[in-house]
């Protein structure tokens, strides 16, 4: 079990370092096992250096930087065992427009390379615009959900306002 954890750690760490730099368009990050000599008792610490800034632990980054770094870690774990489906529920909520853009580019890349189908729940207009298709969920009858297909061009951007 100890060897399996160390080998998983190395693989995830390698993916994490390159995903971080891709999502932040620069900078660097790495994982470290801390707090114990025995890996099975250790803690996983995350060090990140956004472009032009100093390296710090995850807890000292801004809200959006913490989110983008965590997305890099989640996909680093995903890439060690890529799945045919990936479901993301409002993961982009704290991200600004340029970070959302790079997040979407990563999804497109993973979808192509791993043949993964993504279900992306979002409130971000930019993310909606980058989808291959959109479904809207409405509750025109209170308490009862209905799924509708949404025309990406115009309706995508009106749906949230109309259904609300």
């Amino acid at each position: 079990a100890r060897d399996r954890l160390l080998s998983a750690f190395d693989t995830v760490n390698a993916h994490f370092q390159s995903l971080f730099t891709r999502l932040f368009n620069g900078g660097a990050a790495y994982l470290k096992l801390i707090e114990a000599d025995d890996p099975l008792q250790s803690g996983l610490e995350i060090y990140a250096q956004p472009p032009g800034k100093k390296t710090s632990v995850l807890s000292l980054l801004s809200g959006g930087e913490q989110t983008l770094t965590s997305i890099a870690l989640i996909f680093a774990m995903f890439l060690t065992n890529p799945a045919p489906i990936c479901v993301l529920d409002e993961v982009d909520a704290p991200l600004d427009e340029s970070n959302v853009d790079r997040y979407c580019m990563l999804l497109e890349k993973i979808s192509e390379e791993c043949d993964t189908r993504f279900l992306v729940i979002t409130h971000h207009r930019m993310t909606m615009a980058r989808m291959d298709r959109l479904y809207g969920v409405t509750m025109s009858e209170k308490g009862v959900s209905q799924l509708v297909s949404v025309d990406l061009k115009q309706h995508a951007l009106d749906l949230e306002d109309q259904a609300a």
Binding site: L134, A156, L159
Partner: protein
């Protein structure tokens, strides 16, 4: 295996029969607060064999059955079906002899859940293993529920290490 379609009936706010086509690439799901988007995510976890009501925002597994509104009575059953394409024959041995796999979970109030694959009764364990073999499953990194990212940010280092172990 590849995921093609999701069907829900009576699952939480999706009382009516609902079909979601899971196409290639990126599919967006949008809508106002409280309209049912996260319920879709939970339906997928649930069909894969999620066993803990707490992870479904419930205290009891029966809570996933449509509980009724002012206008409609509560239901007694909920059913979620995942339709998989298995033409690459990557499914586990006992289920690997068909092009299509229809995995269904049904719950009956006060009775419990039953699982079927292509109409034949199976155990929950079989369904969980099927999905685990495809690197996807109720607890895999591939299903990121709402709030999971901020949980990770706030997690202690030892908790994070456990997440890594589970994903390995």
């Amino acid at each position: 295996v590849q995921f093609n379609r999701l069907r829900l009936t009576g699952f939480k706010s999706f009382v009516e029969h609902t079909e979601l086509e899971i196409g290639k690439g990126l599919t967006g799901i949008i809508g106002p607060n409280g309209c049912g988007k996260s319920n879709i995510v939970e339906a997928i976890r649930w069909a894969m064999g999620e066993n803990s009501p707490k992870r479904m925002r419930s205290s009891d597994m029966d809570d996933v059955i449509f509980a009724g509104t002012e206008r409609r009575p509560a239901r007694n059953t909920a059913e979620v079906t995942l339709l998989l394409d298995n033409s690459d024959r990557t499914a586990p041995a006992e289920l690997n002899d068909s092009d299509e796999l229809e995995i269904s979970r049904k719950i009956e109030r006060d009775v419990g859940s039953t699982y079927k694959v292509n109409g034949k009764n199976v155990r929950m364990r079989d369904v969980q293993l099927l999905f685990a073999d495809s690197s996807v499953g109720a607890h895999s990194p591939a299903l990121v529920s709402q709030g999971r990212v901020s949980d990770m940010i706030n997690a202690k280092p030892t908790q994070r290490r456990m997440v890594l172990e589970e994903a390995a």
